[in-house]
């Protein structure tokens, strides 16, 4: 019924759809009459905004996409040049001569937008880059044109992946703006397969459902960033979960990739999804004693690694009773380690941090907040030496155990969830030691 009606209406007004006037905003037309002299041709400037669909009622700007301008001739289309959209989806091209040949009116302009830039490219499984083109705007008089152009609703998943709002372009800009890194181009193929995957040739495969989940897109982009820095990805187990022990290399590679979207969006909530469900995981929250929520501890757990990186990065001090993280160091120092020292494990990352001259004690406790304990034996407060302060801390916790209101995990040096003489003995036995953590 709808199609019949559409046909009916289009029959009566088909030109209305396409004749949407391209309004010159300056300059009188010199080509308003047919058959202009090429020598007399003026110029034309094409500007405008490209948009993609967010939902049925909202269009968002396409950022940093290649725009190509063509002139349609009877023999085919002629490439005139290209430019890129800016943050607002805006592009401008020209002025160029508005000479369409002897006996012709002005140029017959086609504008395309292509999901490609030096940052990212989004392709269909056929290998074709997603793109959109305007209807031909025929016989344009001289002047400057400003068009608001929307892409096809059916392609919106591809533009989400490409976008600055939710996708690969956002990841690229984040590194460019924060640390000045020019990440090599990544290619995303969508829809492809049934699970998101990164390949070390710089390709991401995304299944159809994955286009709507920015944390998943940027998780895969995080792998691309690591690969571009290291030239490889540390060996990764095929099956891994965010809260369970995998191994040290998997936890590092995946933990970094889990952390990357958190930094990009400055938000500790990682949204994990599959084809039927999603879950919001606040990586600020997991700490010691989270086994009841299914979390393992240590640096072989990717969610712990991501949480530790987040607590180094973020400006939020963690709250009582788990107040160990008061570190707010931002992204740059994490990046400097990533950039200069290929690490295969989070422990290697910590060793590189330790020798870098960056703050140690606060970083150590931010990591400790996430159930990763890199302190030396007896070093309760994480200042890299075992002193009387550590002894006092341990002794003051004597008799407490997990679940008590004044429970302080730092004092539990033997990790048995209670502070006993054993912990005091550990502190005492290591008294005077200094640590290269």
């Amino acid at each position: 019924m709808k199609s019949i009606l559409v046909s009916l209406i289009m029959f009566t007004s088909i030109f209305s759809i396409f004749e949407i006037p391209a309004i010159p905003s300056l300059g009188p037309s010199r080509n308003s009459q047919a058959g202009i002299d090429p020598a007399q041709a003026g110029t034309i400037t094409v500007t405008g905004y490209w948009f993609y669909w967010f939902n049925t009622t909202l269009l968002l700007p396409i950022t940093n996409a290649r725009v190509e301008i063509y002139d349609e001739e009877t023999t085919g289309i002629v490439y005139l040049g290209s430019t890129y959209t800016n943050y607002s989806g805006y592009f401008t091209f020209g002025p160029i001569s508005n000479n369409d040949g002897p006996g012709e009116d002005g140029l017959d302009i086609i504008v395309t937008v292509n999901a490609t830039s030096s940052a990212a490219r989004v392709i269909a499984p056929t290998g074709i880059t997603y793109s959109a083109r305007t209807p031909t705007q025929r016989d344009l008089p001289d002047g400057t044109y400003e068009w608001y152009i929307r892409t096809a609703y059916g392609q919106r998943g591809a533009w989400w992946i490409f976008s600055y709002d939710f996708g690969l372009t956002r990841g690229w800009y984040y590194l460019s703006n924060t640390v000045g890194y020019n990440t090599p181009q990544v290619t995303a193929c969508w829809p492809y397969g049934d699970w998101p995957k990164y390949w070390t040739n710089g390709t991401i495969h995304l299944p159809d459902w994955a286009c709507w989940w920015s944390d998943i897109i940027l998780h895969e982009y995080g792998h691309h960033v690591m690969n571009s820095l290291y030239g490889y990805i540390p060996a990764t187990m095929e099956n891994h979960t965010i809260q369970k022990i995998s191994n040290s290399t998997t936890a590092w590679a995946e933990g970094w990739a889990d952390f990357f979207p958190l930094a990009v969006f400055n938000n500790p909530v990682f949204t994990w999804a599959n084809a039927t469900h999603y879950i919001n995981i606040n990586l600020e929250a997991p700490t010691w004693c989270w086994s009841q929520y299914g979390w393992d501890s240590g640096d072989e757990v990717e969610g712990r690694v991501a949480g530790a990186l987040w607590d180094i990065y973020d400006s939020q001090n963690d709250s009582a009773p788990w107040y160990y993280d008061s570190f707010s160091n931002g992204f740059t120092n994490i990046w400097n380690i990533m950039h200069t020292t290929p690490c295969n494990t989070f422990h290697e990352f910590w060793q590189a941090w330790y020798t870098s001259g960056y703050p140690k004690q606060t970083a150590l406790m931010a990591i400790f907040q996430n159930a990763i304990d890199y302190r030396g034996l007896g070093d309760v407060n994480g200042d890299c030496k075992c002193t009387i302060a550590d002894l006092v801390l341990t002794i003051n916790g004597f008799g407490t155990q997990k679940g008590d209101p004044d429970w302080d995990k730092r004092r539990d040096l033997n990790n048995d969830d209670k502070v006993t003489m054993s912990d005091i003995v550990i502190a005492q036995a290591n008294f005077g030691n200094s640590y290269d953590c």
Partner: protein
């Protein structure tokens, strides 16, 4: 000599520990130590949320019976047809009218403005229904709209049903209507167009 020194240090530390234990544990009730640092904490829950199944439940919008002449003041019937592949009680069907918006700025810090007026409005009748669906039996509802000004309107029909807390059905259809002074045009959202 070294051993003697270590033993001496150990002895001194042992005495110090004993004193500190006495001070910290006996003289002061341990439950009050460092009390000000601790307070009960509510652990955030994490739970999985279903993503809408848009294949079991479907909705289709049509528009018909435009009054002549087409253009301002034309009226038309908007019909929403709902069908499910399984029995579903308490399905909510809703039709909304909206302009088409464009945004500037990056998500989520965006500001959006309508491209222009939505151009259409409801004439009368309901725009929301709660229904019980029988498998493979479609139900249709009709409401009437009117072209009230030049603009671009979006008619959105949404059907939603929460079967359980972990099963969620939702489907959506939309029509795009451009109202001109003397014409009315349906736009295809897959058409790449220069907006008015």
């Amino acid at each position: 000599m070294v051993i003697m020194t270590k033993l001496l240090i150990s002895g001194v530390i042992g005495v110090a520990i004993a004193c500190l234990i006495f001070i910290g544990v006996v003289a002061s009730p341990w439950s009050e130590l460092a009390k000000s640092f601790f307070s009960p904490r509510a652990y955030p829950d994490t739970f999985t949320v279903p993503i809408a199944d848009n294949t079991t439940l479907s909705v289709n919008l049509t528009i018909s019976n435009f009054t002549e002449p087409l253009g301002l003041d034309s009226e038309a019937d908007v019909t929403v047809k709902v069908i499910s592949r399984k029995d579903m009680p308490n399905v909510k069907v809703q039709i909304t009218l909206s302009p088409l918006y464009i945004s500037q700025g990056a998500w989520p810090n965006i500001t959006w403005t309508p491209i222009g007026p939505q151009g259409i409005d409801f004439v009368d009748g309901n725009s929301t229904w709660i229904i019980n669906l029988v498998a493979n039996v479609s139900i249709s509802f009709t409401t009437r709209i009117k072209a009230v000004e030049v603009g671009l309107g979006v008619i959105v029909a949404t059907v939603i049903e929460w079967e359980t807390s972990s099963t969620f059905y939702k489907s959506e259809d939309a029509l795009y209507i451009r109202v001109l002074q003397d014409n009315i045009v349906l736009q295809d959202p897959n058409e790449i167009i220069i907006l008015p």
